[in-house]
């Protein structure tokens, strides 16, 4: 079992003929993901390797039955691409694109409300169910299939670090999701925690947060009420200065809100096992999850 993606996922890539799109599509195919279509307006009828390219998402969905989209289009066209995917009935839209204006994402999020589509990202590494399906830019080989741990994170390479430590300790993963580093994102911590709680193969969860916003605080509240599986948490940015955007658009301490200290306190209160030292996260996970 897994959440959101599995071996039945039929992937469509928006922006498949661009440099990034091509490269990562090939990586996903190599991992075993069922990539069924690509979309690049004006290049319909062509093929990228053996994958048919269409002009519109609607046409691609009609011809191939794609149910998941991975988006690589540049920031200025990303909102358009996401809404096109949603209107074409794509169930899961994974937005890799970094640098989408906040107001564009706010419009997209309000537009999508009430539709059946789920957005993951933007500005994220994607989602992977190890051994089954990779929809994103993460290195597949650091993952260990079969569970029992689910990973959800706002970061990219920090997630790889966490997954690597888990794998090194022999702890496999059910699904790993990067929800992205932007202030407004589609799927949040709570959505993933809820799905992991309901997934029978997931026995424990690692949650990786960072400074900015209040998503970790809200997630902690949710965990204390709804999650019975053990959760290990890590927060990046204890040393981050206030008022500065730390790489991710969403990683900014505004006044007294969004500090790492505040998040850690909330997570401890929510019963999460806090990892104080990223260097020994793997060890902590062994001790927490072995008793699960």
């Amino acid at each position: 079992m897994s959440i959101f993606v599995n071996r039945n996922t039929r992937l469509l890539v928006q922006g498949i003929t661009g440099k990034e799109g091509q490269f990562h599509t090939r990586q996903c195919v190599a991992y075993g993901t069922g990539v069924v279509a690509g979309v690049t307006p004006g290049k319909g009828g062509q093929k990228m390797d053996e994958i048919p390219v269409f002009n519109t998402v609607k046409e691609a969905v009609g011809k191939t039955g794609a149910n998941c989209s991975m988006i690589f289009v540049p920031p200025s066209f990303a909102a358009d691409a996401i809404m096109e995917a949603a209107d074409a009935g794509i169930a899961l839209i994974v937005v890799i694109t970094e640098g989408i204006p906040v107001i564009d994402m706010m419009k997209v999020k309000n537009y999508i409300a009430g539709k059946k589509s789920r957005i993951i990202g933007p500005n994220c590494p994607g989602i992977i169910t190890p051994g089954e399906c990779k929809v994103g830019i993460m290195p597949g080989h650091i993952h260990k299939p079969g569970g029992p741990v689910g990973v959800v994170s706002r970061s990219g390479t920090l997630t790889y670090e966490v997954v690597h430590q888990l794998t090194q300790k022999g702890i496999g993963q059910t699904t790993c999701i990067g929800i992205g580093g932007d202030p407004v994102n589609g799927t949040n911590f709570i959505d993933c925690l809820d799905a992991f709680q309901k997934d029978k193969d997931t026995k424990g969860i690692v949650m990786v947060g960072e400074i900015g916003g209040t998503a970790e605080e809200e997630a902690s509240e949710f965990i204390s009420k709804n999650v019975t599986k053990p959760v290990v948490g890590f927060i990046a940015g204890l040393t981050a200065p206030p008022g500065r955007r730390m790489g991710h658009a969403g990683a900014i301490i505004s006044g007294k809100s969004g500090t790492a200290q505040g998040k850690i306190a909330a997570m401890k209160k929510g019963g999460i096992h806090i990892c104080d030292n990223l260097g020994v996260l793997g060890e902590l996970c062994v001790s927490v999850f072995d008793h699960a």
Binding site: P75, I103, M106, K109, P139, G156, T157, T239, G279
Partner: protein, 387 residues
């Protein structure tokens, strides 16, 4: 991106939001000319820096005469203004805004920000104007009215009425205030603001609604579609090393410690700073070279870190994903050869092609200190700077 008050007021004027008459001056003579042209005293002389708390720090003064206005401008321009946001070293003032004094009857607070969780645009208004709004929010949250606007539908008159009546405005000011709020919302959305704040917004004795102060921050992600606003950037307000880094699209933020560090990815970069601190040292910077860093970016990053005189050791932490460790190792070796190894460098690499990467480093003949994992690396670099 931040801009100055006088620039924000230029945008206000463009959008029909009333501001006091005035102009920006770079020296006392200019300040005098502007003050004289305003046609009456008192006038207000306001230091223009990208930091709040200017009034408390002595950067905002009232002049009752032309001579006083010139004298105040002379005093303020060139001063190092210290506020709670500048740090103890303060910020050099290079220009002042000279404005007509107003007959203030009531001071209000008005702010517009995006709300992350709801994906709505929030208008915040309070009768507790002129005060630290964070303090108001903490101690007396009931004094702040919040109005959520769906960015797809936009602002409607009822939003403005909610704010106006919530602020207990005098009946005569409601219409003027509502028109102004609608214009401010348009400015916020049109220009991709990430924060718009007026503190205080004043009601004058004559019943006019005027933005006495103006603060606007912009969404950096949207600057590509606002070339005019990008032109408002004032690099004098930024750290020179940060300005240099931005030329190479490097995310660099200078800090006060002595362990320089270079990391791929923002989250891992923050976590690396944290683990440096945990090991008993202080990070000198945040530097994210990005998930897809090239050898050239690594080289520029290296040079910028070495531009900080406080740096006594460097910690390079790379988790090779799609970006392979061998490619990165090449970049580090090249950079170290070109720029010289002025301080010890500890490298920790993990991920794709890590063995090939380690081989390149060990065969380079450079005195690079390799670490087996994060913990090991942090302790090694902390030990170096402690000596």
């Amino acid at each position: 991106m931040k801009i100055h008050e006088y620039q924000a007021k230029e945008l206000f004027k463009k959008y029909g939001v009333p501001v006091p008459s005035g102009g920006v001056a770079f020296n006392p003579e200019e300040a005098g000319k502007i003050a004289a042209a305003l046609g009456g005293f008192p006038v207000v002389v306001k230091a223009q820096i990208h930091a709040g708390g200017r009034g408390k720090g002595g950067g905002v003064k009232i002049a009752g005469s032309l001579d006083e206005a010139k004298a105040l401008a002379k005093k303020i321009i060139g001063m190092s203004l210290v506020t709670h946001q500048t740090g103890s070293e303060g910020r050099l003032v290079k220009k002042v805004l000279v404005e007509q004094g107003l007959n203030i009857q009531k001071e209000l607070y008005l702010g517009i920000i995006p709300d992350r969780a709801s994906a709505k645009i929030v208008i915040m208004a309070s009768e507790a104007g002129g005060m630290d709004i964070e303090e108001v929010a903490e101690k007396t949250p009931e004094k702040i009215i919040k109005i959520f606007v769906d960015p797809l539908a936009g602002i409607y008159p009822y939003h403005c009425r909610d704010a106006a009546f919530g602020l207990n405005l005098p009946a005569g000011a409601v219409k003027e205030f509502s028109a102004m709020l609608k214009n401010l919302y348009s400015l916020f959305v049109d220009c991709d603001c990430s924060l718009l704040e007026i503190n205080p917004l004043v009601i004058t004795a004559e019943g006019s609604v005027i933005a006495l102060d103006a603060k606007i921050n912009f969404d950096d992600n949207a600057l590509f579609r606002h070339k005019d606003i990008a032109g408002y950037r004032d690099t004098d307000e930024e750290d020179p090393l940060e300005v240099e880094a931005s030329k190479f699209n490097l995310n660099y933020i200078k800090m006060d410690g002595n362990v320089g560090n270079m990391v791929n990815g923002a989250g891992l970069a923050m976590a690396t700073m944290d683990i440096i601190k945990l090991a008993g040292a202080e990070p000198a910077n945040f530097l994210d070279v990005g998930g897809g860093a090239s050898a050239e970016m690594v080289e520029n990053g290296f040079r910028i870190i070495l531009g900080d005189k406080n740096v006594k050791g460097i910690f390079i932490n790379i988790f090779g994903g799609i970006l392979r460790c061998d490619v990165l190792a090449e970049g580090v070796v090249q950079a170290a050869r070109k720029t010289g190894m002025k301080v010890p460098v500890v490298i920790r690499m993990e991920g794709t092609n890590v063995e090939a990467g380690r081989k390149i480093l060990s065969e380079s003949g450079l005195n690079l200190i390799t670490a087996v994992d994060l913990q090991d690396a942090a302790q090694k670099v902390a030990k170096i700077v402690r000596i």
